[in-house]
Subunit: 235 residues, 2 copies
Amino acid sequence: MGIQERKEREKEARREEILDAAYKVFVAKGLAGATVDDIAAAAELSKGTIYLYFRSKEDLYLAVTNRGLDIMLGIFEATAAQGGDPIRQIWNLSDAYNSFYEEHREYFRMLAFFENPEMHDTVSEEMLAECQTHDAKVWGFVSGVMKNAIDAGYLHAGLNPLEVGMMLWSNSTGLLRQLDRNEEYWHARMGIDLRKTLRMSNSFLLEAMMTDKAMQLYHDQLIHHWPTRSQEKKS
Amino acid sequence: MGIQERKEREKEARREEILDAAYKVFVAKGLAGATVDDIAAAAELSKGTIYLYFRSKEDLYLAVTNRGLDIMLGIFEATAAQGGDPIRQIWNLSDAYNSFYEEHREYFRMLAFFENPEMHDTVSEEMLAECQTHDAKVWGFVSGVMKNAIDAGYLHAGLNPLEVGMMLWSNSTGLLRQLDRNEEYWHARMGIDLRKTLRMSNSFLLEAMMTDKAMQLYHDQLIHHWPTRSQEKKS
DNA sequence: TAAGATAATGACTGACAGTCACTAAATTAG
DNA sequence: CTAATTTAGTGACTGTCAGTCATTATCTTA
């Protein structure tokens, strides 16, 4: 009696189709600019059907961003699978976040958009809860990577894994948003390569938290070998 | 013949009244939730009058955020007027940004909200240009502070003032947004004091860019005197 | 094949952004 | 002081769109 199961699958498939269509429309027109009729047309469904699957336009938008979180976590996990010592893992995680930004810019933007507290009132409890589940998975992963580095004695013992994750994450996010907002302006007009800036600031943060054990391991790759200080170090 | 002038003043005053009313309504209901009729009622005007002063609800919202930028710049300038050496000035600037967050949380949120690229298409060219003017003033101020520190030999010479400003700014912004989004969660549930985290990460960044000259000046106040490393330093 | 359950539809409603013909008030000219 | 003219303000009206729901279509089961 696989009819129930087939129906479940079909329902799920339809839900995914709607999400595909919604993603395209939201990317093209933004949350405010997109109409549910647009999305229905893109999914080759009627408007009413959309509301059988999602409670509101905002819920649908949030469901799309949850996909973004899944993609992000997938990239993180694939990166971690490459192995490497705990510090390397942190670097790789940072790179993975950059990759997400580069290759899934639209999701990055949607996630940034929905982070705004103003948006949270506009979605259903259920969808918000699902979002938090996805969020928690990502944060669980990130803090796991940090914890490894602390436990292995590569980052200072007093640090809280989540705190370390938060620092690096927020720093990257802040700069990537600036980059997204106006890369052209900063690069061409101001002569600043924000990608370089980002690598630099991540290094500063990470190196400040690294133990001597880790510093020795990465001695040659340390970023802040300032001209005057590198001489000191050799002594 | 001061009639022209008086009319100008009255017009400006009315504009400010509308902005006062709009601020209250936007704070209470958000951009999407607020209606122009709400704002008109709060300003004791008719809807049509609002449109004599602003082109759209979004333009009005952006005009309110521009006030936020003015307030921010005012706080920055007041802080700078207290004096201090170049590094102290940077610390004070960072504190001033925190003060802005604490005391003008609503403006902080509105600014964060409008930073989203999706919003930029919804406002008039004129208003966006005005916003950029305000933005440029703030950035001019910030990079000026950084430039002083570099020129005085307190930050490494190869650094670009804007780049330094960008690093500290983005880092603070990223963490303050997390704080705003869910301080309760991080503090009570995860046991992390993000304000402390913010001070720490700002220290890490700043100290990584400081010259020996500056490091000596601030030796006793350096944050990252990790247990194991502080002994080294004494040698 | 009929009855019943499930999925999909699109016409309809209410709310709201933005407009514009009109009214009110202030200014200027005679 | 009054009429003419300019400027400021109004609110009824329009088009659009989110969300609903009575109806229709399709699929399942007896």
